[in-house]
């Protein structure tokens, strides 16, 4: 990710809003990895993830003229666009990502034992497979929190939820992920 001060980012946003494509290019450089990482966590193929990233930035350019920096923070605004692109893709392909059985996840005891070594044994794709089994909202929440480094408040605004609801989703996500990864680790051992 390109190192850029908040001041620079604000200027790029302002210039892009006025139609400056070069400034938008800088925003692309800054955010493309985050958008791609999110897309990659939601679709299986690299090509699909790249397509979604491209669509998200195309849409962002179309919409940035009306972006209001007094409303959503830019990252929350951009994530919303990326998320909508992913949702649209799943809707069109009628291939909703399989969500983890919440009822089953709820039976996981509070004390979830996922040994550090277990995580170390799982490769990136296996972990992404587990992420794809989370509900769309859970995956969005933890992506925004832990890849996009967004605050709870910004995540809540991006999703149109309360901070409490975001915390609850985050909490369910960690339990579901622990269960899924534990299961995948067991499968690998067999």
């Amino acid at each position: 990710m390109t190192a850029a001060s908040d001041r620079h980012v604000e200027r790029w946003i302002a210039r892009a809003r006025r139609g400056d494509a070069a400034a938008f290019g800088r925003l692309y450089d800054l955010y493309v990895d985050r958008v791609y990482a999110y897309a990659r966590s939601r679709v299986r193929s690299v090509q699909d993830a790249e397509d979604l990233t491209e669509i998200a930035f195309m849409k962002a350019w179309e919409a940035i003229g009306s972006y209001d920096d007094r409303g959503l923070p830019f990252t929350a605004w951009l994530f919303r666009i990326a998320r909508n692109a992913v949702i649209d893709r799943h809707r069109k392909s009628e291939r909703e990502p399989e969500a983890v059985d919440l009822a089953a996840a709820a039976t996981i005891p509070d004390v979830v034992a996922v040994e550090e070594e277990v995580l170390g044994l799982l490769d990136g794709e296996t972990i992404r497979e587990a992420l794809r089994e989370l509900t769309e909202e859970q995956a969005s929440v933890i992506t925004m929190r832990f890849i996009w480094d967004m605050s709870l408040k910004d995540v809540a605004e991006s999703l149109g939820k309360s901070e409490g609801a975001v915390k609850a989703m985050q909490h369910r996500a960690v339990r579901s992920l622990a269960a899924l990864l534990g299961r995948k680790s067991d499968e690998d051992e067999r």
Binding site: R11, G25, R145
Partner: protein, 279 residues
């Protein structure tokens, strides 16, 4: 690592936070560099206009500023490159410039090209004067010149802090000042040669007839005519070179002050190299 149970209020424990951070770090994958570049070019070509030019302009990414100029000249034909505002081919020239700006990666190459565009606009204004264009035509060219200068300065955002100006920047600013002075002189001559009030622009309300004399009495956008701060460009006070001279705003001499993007009359509606059209 043992992840102890979460607290009652759905707050993640520190162990859970670490777990999620670790999981997401392992899951995060960077886009392959080739795809990253290709998508950038497609997105920005879409933003800048004609995608069909992108393939040729990809070559320019790794080239020097000189190569960019050559690419442009070759891309739009010498006739278009030499065209002036009002000529049929001028639109083509502008489009080529816009696409180039859109696909250039940030950095020295982009900044150099911004300089090049500013000089090109100044040269056009000069040539319009030489061609005997009307004051209105020259004024519009000056607006474009001013916008291009503002934009070139704004593109220096990523340059080292002001005060640590590069030799190239200093050379550019000196050339702009010289060019602006030439345009100003030509413009003054045109105004004096025309009957009073014929331009309809309000220019020449000062005693010398010079536009943008710094008194705020006119809105004619002479490059370097001073103005208020810009939200995206350096303000006159932090501009290390243009406008630092003692001539600033004494007689409206072009180049005697920094003309920010937001200065009256400096809008891009004149078709200056504003980057691209709004979709």
């Amino acid at each position: 690592m043992k992840m102890n149970g979460s607290s009652e209020n759905n707050e993640l424990t520190s162990a859970e936070e670490r777990f999620l951070a670790d999981v997401m770090a392992r899951a995060a994958e960077k886009m392959p560099a080739g795809s990253r570049r290709a998508i950038r070019q497609r997105v920005l070509a879409n933003a800048g206009g004609e995608p069909f030019r992108v393939q040729r302009l990809v070559f320019a990414r790794a080239a020097t500023a000189l190569t960019v100029t050559v690419t442009l000249l070759g891309g739009v034909s010498a006739a278009a490159a030499a065209s002036l505002p009002g000529d049929m081919l001028y639109g083509l020239k502008q489009r080529a410039e816009e696409v180039t700006v859109a696909v250039l990666p940030e950095g020295a190459l982009e900044r150099s090209f911004m300089f090049e565009l500013a000089e090109r606009r100044g040269d056009e204004a000069d040539r319009l004067v030489a061609r005997g264009a009307s004051a209105d035509e020259i004024e519009r060219a000056i607006v474009r010149f001013q916008a291009a200068v503002s934009r070139a300065y704004a593109a220096q955002d990523l340059a080292p802090s002001l005060g640590d100006v590069t030799a190239a920047q200093v050379r550019f600013m000196e050339r702009i000042r010289t060019m602006a002075a030439s345009v100003q002189a030509g413009y003054d001559a045109v105004l004096q040669a025309q009957p009073s009030g014929s331009t309809g622009s309000g220019a020449g309300s000062g005693t010398s007839g010079a536009p943008g004399s710094g008194s705020g009495s006119t809105s004619t956008p002479t490059p370097g005519s001073g103005g208020s701060g810009s939200p995206s460009g350096p303000s006159p006070s932090d501009d290390p070179e243009p406008g630092n001279g003692s001539t600033q705003n004494q007689n409206g001499s072009p180049g005697s002050g920094y003309a920010p993007e937001s200065a009256p009359g400096s809008t891009d509606t004149s078709g200056g190299p504003s980057g691209s059209k709004r979709p």
